[in-house]
């Protein structure tokens, strides 16, 4: 009897270790994503579409610089630096976001890790080869059907994420991105930093000159899916809106849900309804002159549950 108890104990501790080891991988991946210079081409698959993009990420004395560029279809480009985001819209680069509120580093704080392990079972399920690199494959399996499963392939050398898939509850691929070519470190093009070309200058937008301000809006979500915790509540300017928008963010450690609340401007796109792109589901509803939008990389049922339980309570 005692033997059996000891054996069970051993099994449990092995299981716990496996989980802890997988979670340690996440920290390594997060660190590598921000601290490594790399340049590569990746394929993004979603909703029966395939897109190829190039990404360059370099770390300079003044922080991270990143350029994301589509290689097929219409020209799309995003440049990011220090929470500021520029996007190629209507043939020019426009600043679309500027967030100073987020402490960008270190990623994966201990409380985030503990939230994550409460909602997902993490398991190392083998090794594979992606873009010529050896990768550790880790599966994060949700404990309920309110979130997706995530499978990641991390480079065993640098810790960089080489491939990531989001899986639905029948193990079907919802979206997937995979590096097909990747250079880590070494001589990486930095000529685009500081935007030397005249057409490529990065102006600060008139509209989005400052980021969000933390607030207590008085809005709450009554039926927040289990495991999600509020990580942020801000009032922020948004492109093309006259009034600031309230944004509340909830996270379960691996995925997030954003709630946006703003006065309804009567735009025809504001009609109630559900739409999706890859793992992202978006749900709109206009109630009493307010436009509610819920966005998250979670199943449709989860965004619907959140929107339908938004309530105003006294501050």
């Amino acid at each position: 009897m005692r033997m059996r108890a000891a054996f069970c104990g051993l099994l449990l501790s092995v299981a716990a270790n496996a989980n802890a080891e997988s979670l340690d991988w996440l920290k390594v991946v997060a660190f590598a994503a921000h601290q490594t210079d790399y340049s590569g081409v990746f394929v993004y698959q979603y909703d029966n579409r395939i897109e190829t993009s190039r990404i360059i990420h370099v770390v300079e004395a003044d922080g991270e610089h990143e350029k994301l560029e589509s290689l097929d279809g219409p020209k799309r480009k995003i440049i990011r630096h220090h929470g500021q985001v520029w996007c190629y819209i209507n043939h020019k680069m426009v600043q679309v976001d500027s967030q100073q509120v987020r402490i960008r580093f270190p990623a994966f704080l201990p409380e985030q890790i503990s939230t994550l392990s409460a909602n997902y079972r993490a398991e190392q399920i083998g090794v594979a080869r992606v873009a010529g690199y050896n990768a550790q494959v880790i599966l994060f399996e949700p404990k309920d059907n309110l979130r997706y499963a995530h499978k990641i392939w991390a480079d065993t050398g640098s810790g960089l994420l080489l491939k990531a898939a989001v899986l639905g509850d029948k193990n079907q691929i919802i979206e997937q991105y995979t590096f097909t070519q990747l250079q880590i470190g070494g001589n990486i093009d930095r000529s685009w930093i500081g935007a030397t070309a005249p057409g490529d200058s990065l102006p600060a937008s008139q509209e989005v000159i400052k980021g969000g301000t933390p607030i207590n809006s008085g809005w709450t979500v009554d039926a927040l899916p289990q495991g999600f915790k509020k990580t942020m509540e801000i009032q922020r300017p948004m492109r093309g809106r006259r009034t600031p928008v309230t944004q509340i963010v909830f996270s379960d450690g691996l995925s997030a849900i954003s709630v946006f609340i703003e006065p309804d401007d009567g735009d025809e796109d504001n009609v109630s309804g559900l739409s999706s792109r890859g793992a992202i589901n978006l749900y709109h509803k206009v109630v009493a002159g307010q436009l509610f939008t819920v966005v998250g990389e979670v199943p449709a049922r989860t965004v619907i549950q959140v929107l339908d339980s938004i309530r105003y309570k006294d501050k």
Partner: protein
């Protein structure tokens, strides 16, 4: 009749009574319809998310329209023997296919198919370009940023926020 069917479905009839009733259902099309409706109601009560409509009639209609070709045609007189052999072979294959299909149709597969259809439904409505701003605003605070860095932004620009 309806009451008897209900009692049968609850498993409260004796074996011989049940057999008699089942035979009656097979012959009487109205009773057969009731039998189907009762099962549909049961399914809806058990799994309200996954049952949309009664497909059986449509499936039957489509199957009747499907051509059933078991043997190659033509040269019937000249190659009579060969045709017979072939059709025998084809019948064997058909039997195999049917056997394989019935092996595949376990009680679990049906709800699975229904669920996949339900899951595919929302994907048919693509996020409108104007909503890309919400994706962009959401992305910065998503944990996916921690893992994949800027590559996660691909979701926000997937096929163009141009022109809006």
């Amino acid at each position: 009749m309806k009451k008897e069917i209900s009692v049968l479905m609850d498993g409260e009839l004796f074996e011989d009574e049940a057999e008699g009733l089942l035979n009656q259902i097979k012959r009487d099309s109205a009773a057969h319809k009731d039998w189907e409706i009762y099962h549909l109601i049961g399914d809806v009560l058990r799994q309200p998310e996954h049952i949309h409509c009664d497909l059986s009639a449509k499936v039957r209609e489509r199957m009747q329209e499907e051509p059933v070709v078991l043997a190659p045609r033509g040269h019937a007189v000249k190659q009579k023997i060969r045709t017979v052999a072939l059709s025998a072979a084809a019948s064997l294959v058909a039997v195999g296919v049917v056997a394989w299909m019935s092996a595949q149709i376990t009680p679990e597969t049906f709800p699975q198919v229904a669920m996949q259809q339900a899951a595919l439904h929302p994907a048919s409505v693509q996020i409108k370009p104007r909503s890309s701003d919400y994706l962009m605003a959401h992305q910065e605070f998503s944990p996916s940023m921690d893992m994949s860095g800027g590559a996660a932004y691909i979701r926000t620009v997937a096929y163009g926020i141009d022109g809006k």
